[in-house]
């Protein structure tokens, strides 16, 4: 297992190098001069040239990329052009907000999505199944900016129960989390439903029923546990995606997260913030993916046996043949 994790961490290196090279190249070929942007359109060409020199924008592509990579390896992502603060400071001042937000959205989507999926799978073609499937269709189809505004109008303006925007405490978290939660819960619900339907038809479920197991235990212990892998994959992907910031909802609810920071940085040609931000998001996504993979092993013993080192694996296989550890 440790070896597997170590291997996965090593594999992150080429991924991050690739991501940084792509974002660096994209910014390099994007029109717009940061120096002119900072100084304004009526600055003299000499002043612009001097600032370009100071910011190192006149160096060749290779030199600039190398400087960026060497800096990043030392934990130095550069200085933001607009605020003059270190990029790492900027990112970490926004990250807690984004992290809390991503976590909330994931929790909400799981709380709604998984039970709905289970019920509609166990009661397939019932009224409830139809209702839940319709809900899923609605959740996927409703654009988040529209849903967000509608929720604000209802809960903040009409009912005056919840604050409309900002991110200062639990009461502020509810509406944004519901907006994204509704959307991604629909995916989770559909995944849970189809995965459960597949498992429910398996022989061992029938066996469990035959031996008189309670329905609750059959669903939760026998069926759900075996249907979890694809569900966790979807949840993991959603969480990883949310860590990059939810641009639209952050805009509507005025949440000072990474997404908002990135959008502003891109339009200001604030290269260091864009590069640092993308790199950070890449790291975060890779780590989440790794965690999800490790989680698979906990849920599914068959997978964990594959992670074992060669020697152990052989021993295990041998014992499986003899039926030693078969459950």
């Amino acid at each position: 297992m440790h070896k597997y994790i170590f291997k996965r961490v090593l594999m992150m290196i080429p991924v991050l190098l690739g991501v940084s090279l792509i974002i660096f190249t994209l910014l390099y070929i994007t029109p717009g001069d940061p120096a002119r942007q900072i100084l304004g359109p009526d600055a003299s060409p000499e002043a612009v040239e001097a600032l370009r020199e100071e910011l190192g924008l006149n160096d060749s592509f290779g030199v600039r990329y190398a400087n960026f990579v060497i800096g990043a390896l030392h934990g130095d992502l550069g200085i933001s052009y607009t605020t003059r603060l270190p990029v790492a400071t900027e990112i970490f001042s926004r990250f807690p907000t984004t992290f809390v937000y991503a976590l909330l959205c994931t929790i909400v989507s799981m709380i709604i999505g998984i039970p709905l999926g289970i019920i509609s799978a166990t009661k397939q073609y019932s009224i409830f199944d139809n209702a839940a499937t319709t809900f899923a269709l609605l959740g996927v189809s409703m654009p988040t900016f529209w849903l967000g505004l509608m929720l604000i109008l209802l809960f903040s303006v009409r009912l005056d129960w919840l604050p409309a925007s900002g991110f200062y405490g639990p009461q502020y978290w509810i509406l944004p989390a519901m907006t994204i939660g509704m959307n991604s819960s629909a995916y989770i619900m559909r995944m849970t439903r189809s995965s459960m339907l597949e498992v429910i038809r398996q022989d061992y479920i029938r066996t469990a029923r035959a031996k008189g197991q309670t329905e609750y235990k059959i669903v939760v212990k026998h069926a759900l546990k075996n249907a979890l892998i694809p569900i966790i994959t979807v949840v993991g992907i959603n969480f990883g995606r949310s860590l990059g910031g939810a641009i639209v909802t952050e805009q509507i609810f005025a949440i000072p997260g990474l997404g908002k920071m990135m959008v502003e940085a891109i339009s200001a040609r604030n290269y260091p913030v864009v590069q640092g931000g993308v790199l950070f998001i890449a790291v975060a996504t890779s780590v989440v993916n790794l965690l999800v993979d490790i989680l698979y092993a906990y849920i599914d013993p068959r997978l964990s046996s594959q992670y074992q080192s060669g020697k152990k694996k052989k021993a295990l296989q041998a014992s499986e043949v003899t039926g030693g550890t078969a459950k």
Partner: protein, 519 residues
Amino acid sequence: MKKLRRLLALVLTVAMILSITACGNGKEAETNTASTGSSSNADASAPAKDTLVVVTRSEATNLDPHNNTSLSSFMVERAIYDRLVDKDENGFIVPCAATEWEIVDDTTIRFHLRDDIYFHNGEKLTAEDVKYSIARAEKEAGSRTFFKFFDGANTEVIDDTTIDIKVYEPFAPVFNYLSSARGSIVCASAMESMGSDAYGRNPIGSGPLKFTEWVAGDHIELARNDDYWGDKVAYKDLIFRVIGEDASRAIELESGGADISLYIAQQDISSLESNPETEVISVPSYATVSVAFNSVKFDYLQDVRVRKALAMALDREGIVEAVYHGSATVADSVYSSVIPYHTSNEIVSYDPEAAKALLEEAGFDFSQPIKLVTMGSASAVAISEIVQNMWESIGLSVETSILDWAVFSQTMADPGLPVIILDSNASSGDPDHGFYNWTWTEAGVHNDPLITELLEKGKQTYKDDDRAKIYAELQEVCIDYYGLVPIAFTDSTFGIRSNVKGFIPDSGNVLDLTKIHFE
């Protein structure tokens, strides 16, 4: 072993959740004032409100008054810093840090300062700080365009409360520029020891409110300066929040989370007006929207008849009506009607047939594509589409493109942009500032010696009557030159809660928030 590991995982998960909640609680405590702000609104009998929440469209870039060009920064700076002079709500220059002043000669103005002004760090404000600020404003990137006429090096400190400010040549806008945010007085010793970047994030002024906190991307918080020499503000805290989305900015006001919202969009006005708890206040702004021709760099725009014909082909009333639905008036001069010495001018009327004839007379090549460029604002894009249609209807070929500011400013410098939709806000309200587009080399609006001469004369003339005459003539000359076609004078639209009193709308969108109190 397995159990142990599971237990460890559980413990770690709980620890993580706890730390996150702790994080959240800390945040909540910090910004408690913001949430009490909204809840006390819901309950009319709550104790007197003492936090003013103002919502703007974009975040301040920094609060170093000489190193930014952001209107959001200006508004915060207006509360934190003192200036030598201020402008009252009618546009008259009134004392601030200076009690009185006299014009010694054409290039020297003597200011007498108050003796009881202290910076928020406890240091006394002296004439040395004023000299330092002027000299700095002359050099730094954000203020240089306006303060390059000040002679910081020769500005002379007579004693602690007397200073002779020098300008290189007679310069009439001097009081307007000194009263703008760029004229803020910074603490010389603090600026020297902190450096510009740190000072810009933790500004030290001497104004009625002092800086307390800046949460990046979210809000800036100021607190009342209880030792202020002048009228103290009626509330305790002032919070500037940033909400980029138009609809959310209006809703935040309706729900009571904000007391004042800037840049209320057209589509949100009716719902705010129909709500008894909110009001909409509109005033003509300093901004002018125009279609500008770069006749300096582009040969096909050099003939004045071509520019006039292009202007004649535009139904300006129709454009203003369609794009602004009543939140702007049809422009009758090159700068807004609320800027001094504005005169109403006859601008060529809509006549597509005559426009076509005039183009033919000028020998214009109708196959020459006209490149029309805008920046991303919704109204500018709408205007450019209408302009394109109107010009194409008389047989011209028009190519439009939308550029973001970064590309726009770069392309404008090199290789240049032929026709652009300009939305320019002369935030200081000075007529010289109003002619900014005509002095903007990259825009290439004119290369007419008469215009250049009148611009210089206007700048150098102190006497009101003479200045009025010069600017009246200049407006006429500029209109006839067709360097640009003014289209609309837009309004500044603010939304406020009904319990907000003492609100003074500002044509430049840089509000003075120090007079506000709650009912």
